[in-house]
């Protein structure tokens, strides 16, 4: 899966990030954008693209042991597909503690009432970024994570 992107010169957060859609979601502009954004934040990004089966996401994460998995979904199935995925991820011993976040338009109704976020957090996501919230919370999350990753091992 490749897209030719010129690496931006920026502070290297040294985070390895996997970006992915969910199994039934074909939207990919969000993934291209997130890749560029994360690279500007100094992350090394593996972009798994659209319609990614759960097994592919699990397989790639077990192989790569990323510092962060970013799930982005816009087709309205994000909540149900996301809950299924995180169950599979968390059942995998290697991925029990991997930071995993999800964002986008997560239900058919337009959501935004916080109900999705509660369910997704309870299911095992570390953060939920519904598309009414803008980018700042996501950037802050990455910065915080990068700060933690940069700290000496004993302090983590």
């Amino acid at each position: 899966m490749s897209i030719e992107i010129l690496r931006a010169a920026g502070p290297d957060t040294r985070l390895d990030v996997v970006v992915s859609s969910l199994s039934s979601d074909a939207h990919t502009w969000n993934l291209v954008y997130l890749q560029l954004l994360l690279e500007e934040l100094g992350c090394r990004v593996t972009n798994l693209g659209g319609c990614t089966p759960d097994e592919t996401i699990v397989h790639e994460c077990v192989a790569r042991r990323p510092d962060l998995l970013v799930i982005s979904s816009l087709n309205g199935h994000g909540c149900q597909d996301g809950i299924r995925l995180i169950g599979t991820l968390r059942a995998c011993p290697a991925l029990v503690a991997t930071p995993v976040v999800i964002g986008g338009k997560l239900d058919v109704a337009g959501g935004g009432d916080g109900h999705n976020a509660v369910r997704l957090l309870a299911a095992g996501f570390d953060a939920v970024f519904e598309d009414t919230g803008g980018l700042t919370p996501f950037r802050s999350f990455v910065h915080t994570l990068a700060g933690r990753a940069a700290a000496p091992l004993g302090a983590r």
Binding site: L6, S24, C51, V108
Partner: protein
Amino acid sequence: MTVIAPQRAPSFGEVVAEFRARGELVVQPRMGFADPAHMRQGLLATRDARAATIGTITLDSYTRVGDHHAVRQALAAGADLNGYPIVDRDPTTTASMLDGVLTPRFPVQVRHGSADPRRIVRALLDCGLHATEGGPVSYCLPYSRMSLADAVDYWRQCCETLAAARGPGREPHLETFGGCMMGQLCPPALLVALSVLEGMFFWQHGVRCISFSYAQQTHAGQDEEAVAALRELIHGYVPDARTHVVIYTYMGVYPRTPGGARRLLAESARLAARTGASRLIVKTTAEAHRLPTVAENVAALEHAGAAARAVPRRTVIADTGIHAQAKALVDNVLALDDDIGRALVIAFARGYLDVPFCLHPDNAGRTRGYLDQDGRLWWQRIGTLPIGDLVEPPTVQRMTSADLLGALRYVERKFDDRFVARDIGLDAGHSLHLEQGV
């Protein structure tokens, strides 16, 4: 003289041609609901709208990816789906949903987005329908992870299934989606070339009634030129098919204000009228926010139909080279193999066809489109596309996430501009509204 012909309903292509002969632009929604009663209500409302309409059944995205287990699970649990699951609904349920909806003047097209639509095609024929859309490239690269070679094979089978269903009163119709690749930032020449190549592929495998898509991009003059190029190439390369051109209202990031959304829809309807296109797939004022309601769809159909009325056909169109580029791309593919499907697979493997910003493993990913300050869409990089003698990409080729977002949001901003003061929270949620279609 009296001729007694067998009773037959006009096919999709004939109905579109009849409307066109009367000077009416056919308008069509993207509507799809999981619940049969809701789907039926949507189709009837489409039929009754004050415009020349054709019906749509858009399928859910589990069906699109062939995850029928998930469809059945969702139906059993009463969970909502984002479209009508035609494969997993009992055929009698679908038949009664359609009973009294289909008329000689009101055909219904099934829209699905699937790279392997074999079961979908069989299901729609079983339900008495005969029109659908897509293509081996356009429903594989952007919307699936399937290998292009597999998608080509599956689409060949689908074309053959459709062709075999031809009979008195039934002329199967297939529409290319190649003119809509990625929704935005794919330069017009490649959209035109892919639309033509997919139509040629359909023809090679027996489909005789074909429509060719082109999605409205970022500049009206450039779009006129692209549609003119498309029509010329259809005439030259698929001369014996019954054909028409279908325009898609902008498929990229959509205006968030109702006023901006309606202006953009009206502009696409006028584009269709000026360029002599026969049909328009509309978008609604809800597009940027959620799946639209039936009422929002009807409002969009009527607004588009009215906007297209009495718009004169444009006869003089400036040539910035779209036709030459598209023809070079098509000819290059045709020279690779007599079998168009094989030629398409070779072309993508060698980067002779290469869709900007497409993450599919079979796409080289070495091309890129960008917008100039007037909103025209150009090549920023051409990779190994065989158009090096026809275009001059800029020397500076850097694109930041902000540049990308700016290009993706150019149309949204332009059309929301005058309504923005009344809008709320425009900055709040802009980051992830990056639509690309289905």
